[in-house]
Point group: C2
Chain length 246, copies 2
């Protein structure tokens, strides 16, 4: 039997004013329950500033924070930063969760530890993959549609290419009154000038993509905004047929 590719790509961990991972909790629970997975390998490398005592402590804090949430539905998190052989831990995993934070640091570490190819192969062989924010960015062909600051220089911006379009997480239409910086749509227009041939899905907070092999669904309470060079942006509500993205 061929295992299916299973992805849960989440725009954001936390809606404003809510508890950590509150809104996607039910989706994560269902995603894991359907295959009876109880242990999830966690990738904390985007979380650089969760502690004032340095980055290893930040990873520890991040693992604990996520474990508290996953524990509520009977799942256990174990973090890759404490594994002696990170690549082997990926090969042994049943499910992988990649947390949000700074995408540049996450991608830096995945290249540094030679994990891009290993994770890609694992997921294509049926290991369930979930990621939120930076964790959704790395599922894309490249990290070129992240919103994050380039605090560190990764070996390459190439990512897992588990899907063949780009996600812009935390997508928003609003701007800050009186501020002259670019809108998100302007930033994506600049992306498209340089990257003509790829779709970008503006994935609003409180929404996610669920992918099962050749089926993709948008879930959550809001439409996504889809961009492609030379075309007007287009809104797609949850439930729309968006299979052309795969």
């Amino acid at each position: 039997m061929t295992m299916k590719k299973r992805l849960l790509l989440i725009s954001n961990s936390t809606n404003y004013g809510e508890d950590y991972l509150e809104w996607p909790r039910q989706y994560i629970k269902e995603f894991l329950e359907r295959t009876g997975i109880k242990r999830v390998l966690f990738v904390p490398y985007a979380g650089v500033a969760l502690s004032e005592n340095g980055i290893e402590d930040s990873y520890d804090a991040y693992e604990e924070r996520v474990n508290d949430v996953f524990g509520e539905f009977g799942c256990e998190i174990y973090s890759i930063h404490r594994e002696n052989d990170p690549a082997q831990s990926v090969k042994d995993a049943l499910a992988i969760a990649v947390g949000g934070g700074n995408t540049f640091h996450l991608v830096y570490m995945l290249h540094e530890l030679k994990l891009m190819k290993v994770i890609k192969e694992a997921v294509e062989n049926g290991v369930a993959f979930m990621g939120w924010s930076a964790g959704a960015n790395v599922a894309c062909p490249t990290m070129r549609t992240t919103n994050d600051m380039p605090i560190i220089e990764p070996e390459s911006m190439n990512c897992l290419n588990l899907i063949h379009f780009q996600i812009n997480p935390h997508y928003l239409d609003a701007t800050i009154e009186g501020h002259g910086g670019e809108t998100r749509e302007q930033r994506l227009e600049e992306f498209m000038v340089i990257n003509n041939n790829i779709y970008v899905a503006g994935l609003r907070e409180g929404t996610l993509f669920s992918v099962e092999d050749d089926k993709i669904e948008l879930k959550g309470g809001k439409p996504m905004r889809l961009f492609k060079y030379g075309h007007d942006p287009k809104e797609f509500a949850p439930g729309s047929d968006i299979s052309f993205l795969l």
Copy 2:
């Protein structure tokens, strides 16, 4: 006689609701008038989306837009994208202006055309340098404190290192109500975790740094916010002694 290093590093071209380059116009005029410079080499590579007819057209449109402003005080702009030998044009210039837009594309092009070293040497030999937004980012040691989207992968994030601290242009305290993305201060805290030993100046819109050899001044109507790892952020008003930054 040794020529002095002269820099004008501007947070943003345009305050909300104002004309293009309106607020810094007087500063630019004075910066050029004091040495009687009438012709300025313009670097348009950050401006990727000023035209719907492709990037060369965007550079043309950008040159015209800036020339209209500089023309008001009797200066002429000529853009490096139309020069046959870009490196030679830098060597021949009396002043260089680097426009804002996407910092990744600007840095990509400066490396691609081998201009980083050439511009640095020219400025250290007395060529006046001004830049706004992305143009201020590239005066720093690296582009790691840009706010822009990584739409293209430059050969390196290293920049001109004309000053030995980082600028975060368009610095702002406000956030978008109800949005869960990081604040600017949170992004800079992440930067400092990875980059412990460098100051970051949060340069608010409507402000700039003027540098003359060993003298630096903050100008404009607002304080800057200075960050360093392990220290609380600190505000400095225009007129404060900030010479320790150099």
